[in-house]
Amino acid sequence: MGRLKLFIPLFVFLVLAGLFFAVETEVSEGEYDPKALPSALIGQPFPAFTLPALLREDPVDESLLKGKVSIVNVWATWCPTCLFEHPFLVDLSERGEVVVFGINYKDNPDKAREWLAAKGNPFAVNIVDESGKLGLDLGVTGAPETFVVDKAGIVRMRYQGGLDETIWQRRFVPLLEQIAAEETL
């Protein structure tokens, strides 16, 4: 027994090493982000808003998001990661699997229009949130952030950070399949 006690530190070390290795693997595979903040809005209705649209005359409100499953992407021209994920969003909207809306967050609308003209426009409608008020109601901490909103206008998921095909397949597709399954019930 006394001998075995000597191995307690080694045992503790092995357990901790295993734990850290597992967490670090999750982080490097993009499964777990220690900086990602759980959204307080999951399961809640998308916040009410009435804001101008970027390429439309009339203002839009939250009824825009009802009746179909939609992806709402918070972006800005000042945000480097938005530049990185933009080609993926263009690709996603071309595939037509799901409708993509944009929230142009705390940005200059003229610059935003230039950006979309130059790089392609993946957004069905772009909500102009120049003051960041809608972003605040959404609990946005920066850009890019992406929300999944179901047919009833309920927020189902929030993803912080740039999108690409891997993250889309791993994080979004299962949820979209689940939402589709709920609707056929």
Binding site: K35, P38, L136, T141, G142
Partner: protein, 155 residues
Amino acid sequence: MRLGFFLLWMTLLPPAAQAVVDAYQFDSEADRRRYNALIDELRCPKCQNQNLAGSDAPIAQDLRSEVYRMIQAGDSDQEILNFMHRRYGDFVLYRPRLTLETLALWLGPLLLVAIGGLIWWRLSRGVEKSEAVESENLSETEQARLKALLEQRDD
């Protein structure tokens, strides 16, 4: 030596001393105190561990201006905390509400103290035991052996 004390003192200064200062005008000194208390108490959602008062992140600036706006509009502290909690969840409160999810935060330290206390108690009992063994009288065979050894040395 005095320099040493000074440096030690510097390291003990709380980091909040480097708070960002916004030029907000308040109607009363009480409102200013409420504002300062709230931005001290609320956590910047973009940062890992900074309060609103200490952060330069754009979101922290926005939230400070929101706190200011709500104070000017006459909202109570609780209304402001609820507003932030609805948007940013428990993370935004440096004293999170006691829920099933935050239970570990509230009870974890007590658990650690309890474990520490238990270990300390076990160890101190072990010491008493070994002291007790030493003070006990030697058995007959041991006494005989001790005598033999001592006699050996005398030779």
